[in-house]
């Protein structure tokens, strides 16, 4: 898998910056606080976020803004894509401590569905409102597939994309969040790559692509 930070000549460089980490005008504000890029491989090394009880902090979750430099082994624990964006605590609103076991007709016990409402929010900073809205429109269509079970709310405020999950199903809750983060990573790499091509083209005297 190609490192999204890899330049055309194969050197690993910080997007929007050089290897010394100097910022370029293209670097987003969140880059300074981001320690890892949103690469596919990185996510597999991180503890997965899941439904959390209100008493335990949620794993901070943020996609690295375009241009962030990949620092091996550096992301904060439980952070699939590094800091820079805040993930509010995944809150569980328990209406009961433990769902009571109900004996079935055959004598087997089965848990009731309970009323544990799971919530999770993530905010993602982008370089501009245009990019934030672009990401929202790219991702929201996929979220609609499970809206009946997992409610996903997308909001764009200036250059920040906020997403909030609400569901009672812990499995789909986890799957939906992980899927979103994977796809968000892809969107950001996409923006990053195409922008990078545009920079190269401009450098060669061609017209701006986008």
């Amino acid at each position: 898998m190609q490192d999204p930070d890899e330049g055309l000549d194969g050197r690993a460089v910080a997007e929007g910056g050089d290897e010394n980490g100097q910022q370029s005008p293209q670097a987003p504000e969140a880059q300074a606080s981001s320690e890892s890029s949103a690469t596919e491989g990185d996510r597999g090394n991180f503890p997965q976020s899941g439904p959390q009880d209100a008493s335990s902090p949620a794993a901070p979750c943020s996609p690295a803004a375009p241009g962030s430099h990949s620092a091996p082994g550096s992301p904060s624990p439980g952070s699939p894509v590094g800091s820079g964006a805040a993930a509010e605590e995944a809150a569980v609103v328990p209406h009961s401590e433990q769902p009571p076991l109900v004996p079935g007709p055959s004598g087997d016990t089965a848990s009731t569905t309970g009323n544990r409402l799971l919530e999770f929010s993530v905010t993602v900073p982008f370089r501009s409102a245009v990019e934030a809205d672009m990401a929202r429109r790219s991702l929201v269509s996929n979220a609609r597939r499970q809206q009946v079970i997992v409610l996903q709310e997308f909001t764009v405020n200036d250059s920040t994309l906020s997403v909030r999950w609400t569901t009672e199903d812990p499995v789909l809750f986890r799957i939906s969040i992980n899927t979103f983060l994977d796809q968000l990573s892809l969107v950001m790499r996409n923006i990053q790559r195409l922008e990078f091509v545009a920079v190269v083209k401009r450098g060669r005297g061609r017209s701006r692509e986008s």
Binding site: A135, S141, N142, S185
Partner: protein, 373 residues
Amino acid sequence: MPAVLGFEGSANKIGVGVVRDGKVLANPRRTYVTAPGTGFLPGDTARHHRAVILDLLQEALTEAGLTSQDIDCIAYTKGPGMGAPLASVAVVARTVAQLWNKPLVGVNHCIGHIEMGRLITGAISPTVLYVSGGNTQVISYSEHRYRIFGETIDIAVGNCLDRFARVLKISNDPSPGYNIEQMAKRGKKLVELPYTVKGMDVSFSGILSFIEDVAQKMLATGECTPEDLCFSLQETVFAMLVEITERAMAHCGSKEALIVGGVGCNVRLQEMMAAMCQERGAQLFATDERFCIDNGAMIAQAGWEMFQAGHRTPLRESGITQSVALRPSFSERLLLLTPGGESFTSMYRWAWRWCSISSFFPSSVSLRQGLSM
């Protein structure tokens, strides 16, 4: 001369193609290959696609010698297929469309196969045998409409072959079907297998269950070799496909047969179909592995025709549709395909209406009729 960029990733192949006015300018592809004895899971497949799609995009543009300014439309596979891979590819298509400010067109995967088959072979009005890992259908043109005359009532023929390959731990590289084909060439003994043609439809799940059960026993006793089993399975399932295709051709008086889909690469299937066509005085059309197997160019081609007809997919309607290829009962099929049979769901509408348009010629009238939803 509009140029269309197409993204395909409904199964384990991810491809990005560029087509301009019927000419394929680029068509790079990657395949997610799993270990022998295993299939490919949606999550893992999607992960693979996400990892390579941007490289493929760059590769396609470079191969075509185009920039974003030269692209007029972005096409992507809207369905049917596996959900996670479809969604991942759709995300990229939407992002690219926004970045480059180009219109977006969602394409039916099945239609992509057919349109590419027609483009490459030049077939005018063929009876189409669409065979792949996920689809098995006989589609023919009759009374001003393309109709689905026959199909599998359970699993696709490619799925049958792939799952049998797992039983024998046949390598998935480059594909299990290809390796079965090579082994079948060395087969000498025909093992009798269930032959299940039900009218115009076929069934493969029983054959698969049977051969999975007897394979180990026969191999253990030395009654046959793995090559014999591959040979026998191919001969049986392909004969079934030839039968239902011939039946459709006889009904429609068709003089052309076109094979599309990944299984269409199989030379033995082409031989058997060619023999049938020769007996009927018909002509067989087939493409090679570049266009039989899932690829981006076929999506670009279908997208090109939709774009020319004025069709656009708004971003808010660009969600993927995993299970478009539904299998209605005969009465439902009749209702769907007859004029005025409008009482179908949006999922039906997409697949079946496409197959009901009066012609696949890229005329604006017929395409607009087929695309109205």
